[in-house]
């Protein structure tokens, strides 16, 4: 066996195997189990404690490039908040498409619940530039920063804003983040104003958030698609409406739980290639030694 030839296998062979590994679970879902972890439980339990008198901020700090990872998370959290009838203030501090993400997700999820009223139960405050300056301003007044909502309508008369004047009235800030804005919520808003912060981030940025989580600066971390799937699992286990909803084909195919099948299969393929590459490397060294 010529180890050198095997070691330098055409990269397109690897791409092809990864593509097959990703396609099979999409065409025929496997349904591998999901086990929620403690950081995800923390957010779920916190929202379970909240009710119609409480308000949360959900900041859509991501754009279309992170949609597959963060949309399922956003949907699950919004469904949970609306089910608990918690007042939801949606905003976007990420310039490239954050507000479009917020509009799309909020409209879709709110339409699933009967009796929810825009301006009373939830509001979309739209996009605001200058993340840190905006965050600081909200400690004084959210309404001063967002005098009108995403449609240009004044928010002063909206009942939802009466119970959310500034950070003192906000039970938790949930940032769905693709870049550094999630960090700003932690190292500025939590550190300077003491507001509990949870971050749902893309997987690539999850490792850096663990330092904040460990230090108690964040109350919850949902890392990538896995974090989203864990939240969905908790929601499905707790509520019948969620169990039925996540069984429907439209919701099921775009859920994080279904996506974790793909993740597991592709991770296995990559692990096999890492082991194979290392084994061939050592075999090649041995063959070189033997001449």
């Amino acid at each position: 066996m010529d180890a050198k030839k095997l070691l330098y296998v055409d990269r397109r062979v690897i791409y092809l195997l990864v593509a097959i590994g990703a396609l099979i679970p999409i065409i025929r879902p496997i349904g591998l189990p999901t086990v929620p972890t403690e950081p995800v439980w923390n957010l779920f339990n916190r929202i379970e404690e909240l009710g119609p008198d409480d308000a949360v901020i959900i900041s859509f700090d991501y754009g279309p490039s992170s949609e597959p990872e963060l949309n399922p998370m956003a949907q699950a959290i919004l469904r949970h908040c609306f089910q608990r009838r918690v007042k939801v203030l949606v905003m976007a501090l990420f310039p490239l498409g954050g507000v479009n993400m917020a509009i799309g997700q909020l409209d879709r999820i709110a339409s699933e619940f009967d009796g929810l009223e825009y301006g009373v139960d939830y509001v979309n405050l739209g996009y605001k530039d200058g993340a840190q300056a905006a965050m600081k301003r909200m400690d004084i007044s959210i309404e001063a920063l967002f005098p009108s909502d995403v449609n240009g309508d004044p928010v002063a008369d909206m009942p939802v804003m009466a119970g959310a004047r500034n950070y003192d009235d906000v039970s938790i800030v949930i940032s769905l983040a693709t870049g550094i804005i999630g960090e700003y919520w932690v190292n500025l808003v939590n550190a300077q104003f003491g507001v509990p912060v949870a971050v749902g981030c893309t997987a690539v940025s999850a490792p850096k958030y663990y330092a904040y989580l460990r230090a108690g600066q964040m109350m919850s971390l949902l890392g990538g698609l896995k974090g989203g799937s864990e939240y969905e699992k908790l929601l499905v286990d707790k509520y019948d409406f969620a169990r039925e909803l996540y069984e429907t084909p439209e919701v099921k195919v775009s859920s994080a739980m279904a996506g974790m099948d793909v993740q597991s299969i592709v991770h296995l393929i990559i692990i096999v290639f890492i082991i194979f590459g290392n084994a061939m490397y050592f075999l090649m060294k041995k063959q070189e030694k033997e001449g």
């Binding site: 996009y127 530039d129 460990r214 890392g223 896995k226 084909p249 195919v253």
Partner: protein, 210 residues
């Protein structure tokens, strides 16, 4: 019935994915289109969401009450002076204000939100707790100190410093491994998003499958 938007979306997705085989004109077309549209979107967004409500709207609405906004407007225009060689130096004035503002904001933010809480989190108990917790705390402290010493370059990494730095490299390697695993997860999520679109929104309706 598959809409023209879905067809276009599928075509552009396949154009981008074709790069995995090799570089080709379809990929370059889709790449250029994406870059151009992103820039156009960003300019439109900056105009509609930032300049109009925060600058032009207030200035045209109530000039006497908002004339102070002319100062940030002038600073913004000054930034573009760098393209005129004779007055390029004036762009530095705006940059100086910009940098000064960010240093002021970030200094407190980093100190208060990162340096102090992260430092205090490394002060851990080694007594009065369970055996396993002691072990984890020792590993944590050894990790922090050895990695910090690895990045100490004012002395040659020999002797005790060299050995501790080697330990730091191991901790760094483990953290890089964790980052690599998460990075794969992120990239596969993106691939899955595109494949899910191709299968569920394009091919399945096309062949009439549910």
């Amino acid at each position: 019935m598959v809409s023209i938007g879905v067809w276009l979306n599928a075509f552009l997705t396949l154009c981008i994915l074709s790069f995995l085989y090799k570089d080709n004109p379809f990929f370059r077309f889709a790449e250029s289109l994406f870059a151009g549209m992103s820039l156009g979107y960003y300019i439109g967004l900056a105009n509609q969401q930032t300049l109009m409500p925060n600058l032009f709207g207030p200035l045209f609405g109530d000039f006497s009450g908002n004339f102070v906004l002319l100062i940030p407007m002038a600073l913004g225009i000054l930034l573009y002076f760098r393209y005129i060689p004779k007055v390029a130096w004036m762009a530095r004035l705006a940059l100086a204000v910009y940098i000064g503002y960010y240093v002021g904001v970030m200094f407190l933010q980093k100190l208060h939100g990162e340096v102090l809480p992260q430092s205090s989190d490394t002060i851990l108990r080694l007594r009065g707790i369970g055996g396993l917790d002691i072990l984890w705390n020792v590993i944590f402290i050894v990790g922090v100190i050895s990695v910090l010493l690895y990045f100490y370059f004012s002395a040659e990494h020999k002797g005790a410093l060299g050995r501790i730095s080697r330990v730091g490299i191991w901790f760094l390697m483990i953290s890089f491994g964790a980052s690599f695993g998460y990075t794969i997860m992120a990239r596969i999520s993106l691939l899955m998003g595109r494949f899910s679109f191709l299968v569920n929104d394009w091919i399945r309706p096309l062949v009439g499958a549910s």
